[in-house]
């Protein structure tokens, strides 16, 4: 097996091959978590698909030496079951090369030695596209050192660029330090972030609540400026010992009310263990959606009516307090079988894609659908005329008007139920019922059709 092999071919070679789809989002989330942890070593951390980058300027002495810093990093991830390779070097490019292709898991390229240290590494260590690598390979330029004579020639950089284009040249010169490459920390990665650092570690619970309120104020101001509202929020307390404590929650509608957001978090603070204290706190709007500024209410305390917007904070509070699974609502689900035509779902959750466009049934349905159809006795003409009279809960109803049958067959791909013929009935008192006969006359079934009452119209 090799990377890039088509799945079908891999399966032909190894039929019992276990296959999982790549989960790009989960991978990214994991990297983000690792990047959060890396804040323990350096305040300036960036992460991408290839790994983490830390600005290590002036921090190595805190750990004893540069190699001790690398050892600490590798050990830290090793404890979590992750194999890490690390390199510290003068330039970002050289450090990347050393981490990917260096001789050991912890590589230190001594200051000023970059050129010599990089020379034996393969050109792949220059962060190049596959096509560029193939070009270099074909020309017999396999190691970074092979490029030096060309780069040193009279035409130098221009000559190299003429053959390989700007990227190869740039990568080489970046690695060698001849071209600057700043490290852009990921702090800006989440949509919006509020951040508070403390000179003295904070432990008191009420102090934490104040921190949350401050963060919420800050974040909501940013949201308002961007005309956004948060749907998913993450609060992270960085403990003195490096462990990040993370609280995340979602809202049912985009929101940027600081008091609402703060309240949702404060309700959950009790579960946190601040340990020896919190030194840094951040609040991220991980998912933000457009929220236009709304007009302020003209009536000071007026109650002009009940709107969906009023309901949302209540739903958020209830869901976050009682658990999101316990607050629900009804949604249409397209099914001909009446009891399956609606589903109960979590109020906060997004509507599943296949239900998003679900329509109501085209035929009229009763306002009240009984949880369980109730058996009734019916007098009706064969084979499929509507009932003339029926007895429900020991009361006799004379049918004054009827409509039907509406024939609904069971969903064969689930559990094949009997065919049902539904009738809308109105009795002499004007009450309206929804009844059905299960089974058809003369369909050869062992037992005769049975009648049920399934719903009541208003």
């Amino acid at each position: 097996m090799r990377i890039g092999l088509p799945l079908a071919e891999a399966r032909a070679r190894l039929p019992e091959l276990a296959v999982w789809p790549q989960r790009v989002e989960a991978d990214a989330a994991l990297r983000r978590r690792l990047a959060d942890q890396a804040l323990r070593w350096s305040p300036s951390v960036a992460c991408d698909e290839d790994g983490l980058r830390l600005d290590a300027s002036g921090i190595a002495h805190l750990f004893g030496s540069e190699s001790a810093l690398l050892a600490d990093i590798v050990r830290h991830f090793w404890r979590q079951g992750l194999t890490a390779r690390a390199c510290i070097a003068d330039t970002l490019g050289a450090a990347w090369a050393g981490a990917q292709f260096g001789p050991t898991a912890c590589t230190v390229f001594a200051p000023g030695q970059t050129r010599a240290d990089l020379a034996p590494l393969p050109v792949a260590a220059l962060r190049l596209a596959a096509e560029d690598l193939a070009q270099l390979q074909r020309l017999g330029l396999r190691r970074i050192g092979d490029l030096y004579p060309i780069a040193d020639a009279a035409s130098g950089r221009a000559g190299l660029a003429r053959r390989f284009g700007p990227v190869v040249t740039q990568r080489l010169f970046q690695a060698l330090g001849a071209e600057a490459e700043p490290l852009v920390p990921d702090a800006a990665a989440p949509a919006l972030r509020a951040r508070l650092a403390f000179a003295e570690p904070v432990t008191a619970p009420d102090a934490l609540a104040r921190i949350v309120a401050k963060l919420a104020d800050d974040l909501c101001a940013q949201l308002a400026a961007a005309q956004l509202g948060a749907r998913r929020l993450a609060l992270v307390f960085h403990r003195v010992d490096g462990l990040p404590l993370r609280l995340a929650l979602g809202t049912s509608r985009p929101t940027r009310a600081p008091s609402d957001i703060a309240r949702l978090f404060v309700e959950k603070l009790g579960s946190l263990d601040p340990g020896f204290g919190i030194e840094l706190a951040t609040l991220d709007a991980e998912l933000a959606q457009s929220l236009m500024p709304s007009q302020r209410d003209m009536l000071p305390d007026g109650d002009p009516g009940f709107t969906a917007a009023d309901l949302a904070p209540l739903v958020d509070r209830l869901a976050n307090r009682l658990g999101p699974a316990n607050i629900g609502r009804l949604a249409h689900a397209e099914s001909h079988v009446p009891e399956r035509a609606q589903v109960f779902m979590a109020a906060l959750g997004a509507v599943p894609r296949h239900l998003r466009t679900a329509q109501a049934p085209s035929q009229p349905r009763p306002l009240r659908l009984l949880g369980y159809p109730e058996s009734i006795d019916v007098t009706a003409e064969l084979p499929d005329a509507p009932p003339l009279l029926f007895r429900w809960r020991s009361q006799l109803h004379h049918v004054a008007a009827a409509n039907g049958p509406e024939r609904i067959a069971g969903e064969w791909w689930l559990k094949a139920g009997d065919i049902r013929d539904y009738y809308r009935l109105e009795d002499r008192q004007g009450r309206r019922f929804w009844v059905y006969r299960e089974g058809l006359w003369g369909d050869g079934a062992a037992r005769p059709p049975r009648w049920f009452l399934h719903g009541l119209f208003a």
Binding site: M1, L7, A8, E9, R11, A12, R13, L14, P15, E16, V19, P122, A134, Q135, Q137, R138, L139, G140, L141, R142, D146, P149, I150, A153, A154, S155, G159, A161, R162, R163, F164, G165, A333, E334, S335, H336, H354, A358, Q359, P361, S362, Q363, P383, N403, G404, P405, E406, R407, I408, A409, W412, W413, I419, D421, Y422, R424, G442
Partner: protein
């Protein structure tokens, strides 16, 4: 309700949608017809969505069942109600055909049928119209008058009584008549599940997400007339209307008369005279020494039958097309049953001399069955389009069209679509369809499912399998036949709808070849054959090199050197006999004359192999078994093939001579053999054949064996005439290979892709035949491979991967006197861009260019340089860039680069470079293997050329390895394959251990162990991965 009675009102279902409304109807046309007949309907009206694709099948079924069929179509006009239109007479049918043709061509291929209401209304008088929605009713009523109807359907939707009443009121108000239909999409309620699945497939949904796209109930099936009468008890006129419409429509497809086209420019009625003249003139030319009496008799006999049946225009049409090709210098040759005709030979359609064959004209044309003969003609594959466009231009698009082909669901595609619709995971579907190795008609059984790691009892899986089984055979879409042309005297689009094919500039009929045959419509197969291209190119190369100008007929016959070569299985590139199976047969069969080639072509086919005819024939041929005949009568039939029936014609003659079949019955037997779709049918002939033979005094076991052998043809048998046509090409290509190996190899390379072997093997084979092969060169190569002198082949620029033909031709055109100085020079003169230059440099085309040539890496460096280019002032001066010092390229790297960019290397074989290592590992070469004794143990290594898993071999894998000395054929039994699966399928350099199996000069290795040595290849180049291409599973 249980008693099926036709008493009471007569009823005909008039709104039937079959599965030829793709992914809508859930039953075949014949299922509807049979069910309607059984239920006692007085007629059935089939109206598919904008199509007549299924109507012939319905017609055939209706004739068989004795039920009246109304021919109709459903259209959805852009500005009116959906309409069912039924032809009342031939005029109405012609109008419908043209309506569909126009609508489908307007909508574009596969996008349905787009018509306007006005077009539909214009058909008034000869068409009955049933509106399905109550819109624009006044217009419909005004146009169609007494023939205008409004449909009403009892759908069990809850409010049917009210809905039908409303419909009845509307009909009354707008002066239409109400007609009852059941909007049928399945012949029986059991098809509801499949109907839902089809809705899912059509809407790209799964059963769990399809929601209201699915049907609420299963009522849209054919119902008993009494049941329909009960549902419409309040509207008896609506039921009566169905019978009224049925009697008003007096059209049957039998009325579609097809006339052969006249020869353009000829007087009508003079066709027979023209054909007679052409035949005798041709005969004189074919036999300059005088027409042999047997041929003369045959010609007269054939002309008589042709005259009797009026087929002369057909022969002349084919002749006309063949003449066009000849005049354009396009090689062509008739194949198939036409080679049974001396007339076809004399007028130049076929090339097999009747004196060399025993003709069975009845196989081609028979007076007993009034059916058109079938003439298939092969043309050069690169130039067939010229012929096709000639036919369109010459006869006009309204008179000529390609036959359609109905692409139907097969086991794998059915399972994939049903699986998706039922929400099976992609993994499960892949695992299941992976278990259907190869294209299989067979259903998937439980063992396969378990082998794929799935539980056959899982309910969804069970459902998917059951439904997929029903779906197999359902039509999916209309595509084009490989080359069957229908040419008519009158307008073709009044016989059958003519629609656009997916391919540019092609128009096709909605009917496939079975439909055409059922209606007796003639078709001419204009087929493409790569070998004809190759032969023509070889002829051109020979003539250009100063040799004679050859034609197919000029090739010297029965050259012993050619047969010597074939007996050595030296047949790479030769038509038909180059496959591994054919190659292993050649030394055993030892062909010595043309007829041996006919047998060779026919014998290595699944039919004879499964019928177990190969070994008896070989034994008899080698004298190990005496040749005997069960009777004198059969001796005549079977003497040519030593008593073993090998050809379809022989099977027919056995049936006639030994079992007393009439020629027509024998032909029916042949048809049963030819079409596997009717595989069940051939069984019926079994008893008749065996009993017939026993009654005539043959031993029962001999009779049964005969039948089994005939049954073997059921899937793939060759008619002798077809084998003879192919054998001729075998001989010609073998002669070229033998006498003009350089030209032949060049022609093969220039006709790629075709045949069985990659350029690397063709080049290597040419080298082994003494041809010097030179690499592609910027200064010397053309796009195509060329000859430099008699025995030097210069590879063409076409060999270079990534180089376009236009760029290559620009390079050739701008070539300066002393050659190109380098990539920059080429770029300037030929205006090539960097991609072209790099392709040339990668293909090492500059290493011998100019005065001193340029090493590959230097060329690559220069080819990749970007602008700024040197100023015009300095044009032609060497660039003043400091010379770049690049590492030398080792031989191993050169070879790897050659393989990567030329697909072959003339510098060395990779295994030569690895041989030292392989010698240490005590590995044999392929050349040593060829001298090994039977049963010897062997270890060898080679590049994998080819992996095959033939359907007839029950899971055995055949692998071909190549090293620097030759090739080795491996046999991997299924249990070994299973143990070494990743190695067999993944390795590029394979090491095997096994036992030598030798039969005559045919050597195989029965493999015991395999090892993947691909890593060794990487050592040639440092670390670059190299892909040595193999051709797998073809």
């Amino acid at each position: 309700m249980t008693g099926r009675t036709t008493a009471g009102a007569a009823y005909a279902e008039l709104q039937v949608t079959t599965n030829f409304s793709f992914l809508r109807g859930a039953s075949h046309p014949h299922e509807f017809v049979a069910t309607a007949k059984a239920l006692g309907h007085c007629a059935i009206g089939i109206a598919d969505h904008g199509s007549f694709a299924g109507i012939v099948r319905a017609h055939v079924a209706a004739k068989e069942a004795g039920l009246k069929l109304l021919t109709g179509v459903r259209v959805d006009p852009t500005n009116g109600p959906p309409l069912l239109l039924y032809a009342k007479d031939r005029t109405g049918y012609a109008g419908l055909c043209r309506l569909i043709s126009a609508g489908r061509r307007r909508a574009g291929h596969g996008n349905g049928c787009q018509v306007s209401l006005a077009e539909c209304l214009a058909l008034k008088g000869s068409v009955v119209a049933i509106a399905l929605d109550p819109i624009e009713l006044d217009a419909v009523a005004a146009a169609f008058g007494r023939d205008a109807y409004l449909a009403a359907t009892f759908r069990y939707a809850g409010d049917d009584a009210a809905a039908i009443s409303a419909q009845a009121n509307l009909a009354r108000r707008h002066k239409l008549r109400l007609v009852a239909t059941n909007d049928v999409q399945a012949h029986a309620p059991e098809r509801r599940a499949l109907h839902d699945v089809l809705a899912c497939i059509r809407n790209l949904q799964t059963i769990d997400t399809a929601g209201y796209l699915l049907a609420a109930n299963a009522e849209r099936h054919l119902k008993l007339p009494v049941e329909m009468a009960r549902l419409f008890a309040a509207w008896p006129d609506a039921i009566a209307a169905t019978a009224a419409i049925a009697s008003a429509c007096d059209f049957s497809l039998d009325q579609v008369r097809y006339d052969y086209p006249d020869l353009p420019g000829a007087e009508p009625g003079s066709a027979q005279a023209t054909l007679t003249r052409l035949a005798w003139d041709g005969a004189k030319e074919r036999y300059p020494a005088g027409i042999p009496p047997s041929v003369a008799t045959q010609i007269s006999y054939e002309l008589e039958i042709v005259a009797e049946l009026g087929y002369a225009p057909y022969f002349l049409t084919v002749h006309d097309i063949v003449m066009f090709a000849r005049n354009r210098g396009i090689l062509c040759q008739g194949r198939g049953s036409a080679a049974n005709s001396a007339v076809c030979y004399c007028i130049g359609i076929t090339a097999v001399d009747p004196t060399r064959m025993d003709l069975l004209f009845e196989r081609f044309v028979s007076a007993a069955r009034n059916e058109p003969p079938d003439i298939d003609v092969d043309f050069e594959h690169e130039r067939r389009e010229e012929v096709i466009q000639y036919i369109y231009a010459h006869y006009g698009r309204e008179r000529a069209g390609l036959a359609g082909a109905i692409a139907a669901y097969r086991a794998r595609s059915a399972l994939r679509d049903v699986g998706k619709a039922l929400g099976l995971t992609a993994d499960a579907i892949a695992a299941l369809s992976g278990s259907v190795w190869g294209r299989s008609e067979a259903a998937i059984d439980d063992t396969h499912i378990k082998a794929a790691g799935l539980d056959p009892e899982a309910p969804r899986l069970r459902l998917a399998l059951t439904l997929a089984r029903t779906l197999v055979g359902f039509p999916r879409h209309l595509s084009q036949h490989s080359g069957g042309f229908v040419i008519a005297r009158g307008r073709l689009d009044e016989i059958c709808p003519v629609v656009d094919a997916a391919m540019e500039a092609r128009t096709i009929l909605e009917w496939d070849k079975d439909d055409l045959e059922a209606l007796g419509i003639l078709k001419i197969d204009v087929l493409a054959l790569g070998m004809l291209t190759c032969i023509r190119k070889a002829f051109d190369l020979i003539a250009d090199a100063g040799g004679p100008r050859l034609e197919l007929a000029d090739v010297p016959a029965e050259d012993p050197a050619v047969y010597d070569m074939l007996c050595r299985a030296d047949s790479i590139g030769v038509f038909q006999v180059e496959s591994r199976a054919q190659m292993s047969m050649l030394p055993r069969l030892k062909p010595r004359c043309f007829y041996d080639l006919v047998i060779q072509v026919a014998i290595v086919r699944p039919g004879p192999i499964q019928g177990d005819m190969v070994h008896p024939y070989l034994r008899r041929r080698s004298g190990q078994e005496t040749v005997s005949f069960p009777s004198q009568a059969l001796e005549q039939v079977l003497s040519k093939t030593l008593g073993v029936p090998l050809f379809q014609e022989q099977a027919m003659k056995i049936a006639i001579v030994a079992a007393g079949f009439t020629p027509a019955e024998a032909d029916a037997l042949r048809r049963a053999m030819a079409t596997f779709k009717r595989a069940g049918l051939i069984g019926g002939f079994g008893a008749k054949l065996v009993e017939g033979m026993v009654a005539r005094g043959y031993a029962r076991d001999f009779a049964e064996r005969c039948f089994r052998q005939i049954e073997g043809f059921g899937t793939y048998g060759f008619p002798e005439s077809h084998a003879a046509s192919f054998a001729l090409l075998v001989y010609v290509s073998a002669w070229l290979k033998c006498r003009h190996p350089a030209a032949f190899a060049a022609a093969l390379l220039n006709s790629q892709p075709m045949g069985f072997y990659a350029p690397a093997q063709i080049v290597r084979d040419a080298q082994e035949h003494g041809v010097r092969v030179a690499p592609p060169c910027a200064d010397r190569s053309l796009w195509d491979a060329t000859l430099e002198g008699a025995d030097t082949l210069r590879l063409g620029l076409r060999q270079i991967k990534g180089l376009g033909q236009a760029a290559a031709e620009a390079l050739v055109a701008a070539r300066p006197e002393g050659g190109y100085a380098g990539p920059a020079d080429a770029a300037r003169r030929a205006k090539l861009d960097r991609d072209d230059l790099e392709a040339l440099a990668r293909g090492d085309a500059f290493s011998a260019a100019g005065t001193s040539g340029l090493p590959r890496r230097q060329a690559l460096w220069q080819a990749g340089l970007r602008a700024p280019r040197p100023l015009p002032l300095f044009d032609g001066l060497p660039s003043n860039d400091a010379p770049i010092i690049l590492p030398e390229m080792a031989l191993g790297e050169q070879v790897a680069e050659d393989y990567a960019h030329l697909r072959l290397s003339l510098k060395a074989h990779p295994l030569t470079l690895l041989r030292t290592y392989l010698l240490i590992a005590k590995m044999q070469t392929c050349a040593q293997l060829a001298c090994s004794k039977n049963g010897a143990r062997t270890t060898l290594a080679g590049l994998v050329l080819l992996r095959q898993r033939p359907g007839t071999a029950k899971g055995t894998i055949f692998v071909t390895l190549e090293d620097e000395t030759g090739i080795a054929n491996l046999i991997v039994w299924p249990h070994v394959f299973e143990a070494y699966r990743p190695v067999v399928l993944g390795a590029r350099l394979l090491q095997v251990e096994g036992q030598v199996q030798r039969e005559a000069s045919v050597v195989h290795v029965i493999v015991r162990k395999l090892f993947d040595r691909s890593a060794l290849l990487a050592t040639l180049v440092g670390s670059a991965p190299v892909h040595y291409p193999s051709r797998d599973f073809r």
